[in-house]
């Protein structure tokens, strides 16, 4: 019974934890501009993250070490350093976006300017990272993030033309007035939002924090193959809500308040309360994950003691890196740079850094020295290789498309 409960909790956490500020903004923005014509990019991203998260979870369960703990050892210090530099910069940018997201969500609940909420959010994050047990912080944030299911309820209550939505999703077309470069720019942003690198850092390091062994592979797979796709459905519900309510009014999304408007239209104050709770939980949970991921990646590269399963004094350098990254992330938002803009750029730069994150996972998941008999099978390798090609194309196209479209304008 305890095991079933653990699996169920893991799945719920994976669903609630799947959506972060990047998913909220990107899906709503794209839904309002393109309808569901880019749903395929989210689906593709969800398949990709399932594939690679399963590999990194399996690596953690079999070897007892996080994937990136092994990168330097397996691929050498230079590749490890390139991997560290790219992933740390992108994760730090995402961390800033999440801190900004918490502040924006609290502003919606209070109408107090978001900049005043940034230090409060920073302090709360630090206290939670410092004091709260790993399993508690992961599960509470993930389960509260389930409040975003309200977008699915709102979509149902909006009584949309389902056939039209399905038509948009299954036979995608670039809407009139939108250029193809813009269409593909946003496709890459959605793909990057679903496959954000920190998700696999956190998933594999989290497996080590929770002391996974080979018998936990089933739990890990259930989290990934059930939880993540259901989280992807949440993303699609957010996009569909925007397509139904915002698109006909020609509203383009550039604030978090606009993301929640369809829920208010459909469900009123109670629905909106759930949406705001979901915004806070999703961004707070993702901020914890990105903050810890910064610490994980640096500490694992340098071989320092890391993790929350040891006391802070025993992993002092890890805790210091997390704290410094938190100060940098909060400081970035306090410069008054628009957190939504930071989010949009973090998605594109995530896409650029994807190959450096996902290639090492594929290599290590194929190494019998670490994996023994649990190396990738043929299907996993075939799909992994296909996805690496897609990731490489997205990575190479991201910056030119950003310049050509002036960041999607």
């Amino acid at each position: 019974m305890k095991r079933v409960f653990g699996v169920a909790l893991g799945i719920l956490t994976a669903i609630g934890g799947f959506v972060d500020i990047g998913d909220l903004v990107a899906n709503s923005l794209v839904g309002a501009r393109f309808g569901l014509a880019l749903a395929w990019a989210t689906v593709l991203g969800v398949i990709g993250i399932c594939l690679f998260a399963e590999m990194s979870g399996r690596v953690a369960a079999v070897s007892g070490r996080a994937t990136f703990d092994l990168v330097r050892e397996r691929l050498g210090p230079r590749v490890g350093l390139a991997n560290l530099a790219a992933s740390l910069l992108v994760t730090l940018l995402t961390f800033s976006a999440e801190v900004g997201g918490i502040a924006l969500a609290l502003e919606l609940a209070s109408s107090v300017n978001y900049l005043l909420w940034v230090p409060v959010a920073g302090l709360a994050l630090w206290l939670v990272i410092w004091r709260v047990k790993f399993s508690v912080l992961e599960n509470v944030a993930g389960v509260l993030g389930l409040a975003l299911v309200v977008f699915g309820v709102a979509l149902w209550q909006l009584h949309p033309d389902w056939s039209q939505l399905v038509q948009q999703a299954v036979s995608p077309r670039n809407p009139p007035g939108e250029g193809l470069p813009t269409y593909f720019y946003y496709a890459i942003a959605l793909f990057g939002a679903a496959m954000t690198p920190y998700e696999v850092f956190f998933f594999s390091s989290g497996g080590v924090e929770e002391r996974w062994s080979a018998k936990d592979i089933v739990t890990s797979r259930m989290n990934v193959f059930v939880g993540f796709p259901l989280g992807g459905l949440l993303s699609l519900a957010i996009a569909a809500c925007a397509a139904v309510v915002l698109m006909p009014r020609q509203i383009t999304v550039d604030t978090l308040g606009q993301v929640g408007l369809p829920v208010a239209v459909a469900l009123g104050k109670l629905g909106l309360a759930f949406a705001i709770l979901g915004f806070v939980a999703a961004t707070f949970g993702a901020a914890l994950e990105t903050g810890l991921s910064c610490g994980y990646s640096v500490a694992q590269y340098f071989g320092w003691q890391w993790g929350k399963y040891v006391r802070p004094r025993d992993a002092a350098r890890f805790q210091l890196v997390v704290l410094v990254c938190l100060v940098v992330a909060a400081g970035t938002v306090l410069t008054t740079i628009d957190p939504i803009t930071v989010t949009e750029y973090s998605l594109v730069f995530s896409a650029v850094a994807l190959p450096l994150t996902y290639l090492p996972i594929l290599v290590i998941a194929n190494d019998p020295d670490y994996m023994g008999a649990r190396v990738n099978g043929r299907v996993a390798n075939l799909l992994g290789t296909v996805f690496l090609v897609i990731i490489l194309v997205a990575s190479l196209a991201a910056i030119p498309l950003m310049l050509a479209t002036r960041a999607g304008q």
């Binding site: 915002l246 308040g257 606009q258 929640g260 408007l261 208010a264 304008q409």
Partner: protein, 144 residues
């Protein structure tokens, strides 16, 4: 170091004023401005139309965000130097009128929302429908 300072100054000035050397380019920027402004105006109107379903804090934040974004769009357009062409002057004048009406209207909505004057908000939002239609028409006519 002097050349570096010169480059910084040139880039800073370039960031302040967006030149529009041809009428076509100016028209494109005007159409783009109208679309951006319409999005903010419609956000404010949608929020006010459902004001009874929104907590006051949420409504106020949405309106303040829309007002700030609208004003920024208006200021950016006003900072563009129009080409020496009567058509460009006409474009500027037409759009300025719409932007000014929109800006005033959203500010009014924000004030009425703070006073919880639901009837006045509904009336202002209704009146802003004409400005929204005007911005939409402007965008359709001039989008190249």
């Amino acid at each position: 170091m002097r050349w570096l300072a010169a480059v910084v100054v040139v880039l800073a000035l370039a960031g302040c004023v967006g030149p529009a050397p041809t009428t076509d380019q100016y028209q494109g920027k005007a159409a783009h401005t109208a679309a951006d402004a319409l999005a903010q105006l419609e956000t404010a109107r949608l929020a006010v139309e459902h004001a009874g379903r929104l907590p006051a804090t949420y409504l106020e934040t949405v309106l303040v965000d829309a007002e700030e974004a609208f004003d920024s769009i208006e200021n950016t357009f006003d900072s563009i130097e129009p080409p020496d062409d009567p058509m460009a002057d006409r474009l500027r004048s037409d759009l300025d009128t719409l932007l000014s009406d929109g800006s005033d209207g959203i500010a009014e909505l924000r004030i009425q929302a703070r006073r919880s004057d639901t009837a006045a908000m509904a009336s202002t939002a209704h009146d802003l429908g004409e400005t929204a239609a005007g911005l939409d028409r402007f965008h359709q006519e001039h989008d190249t």
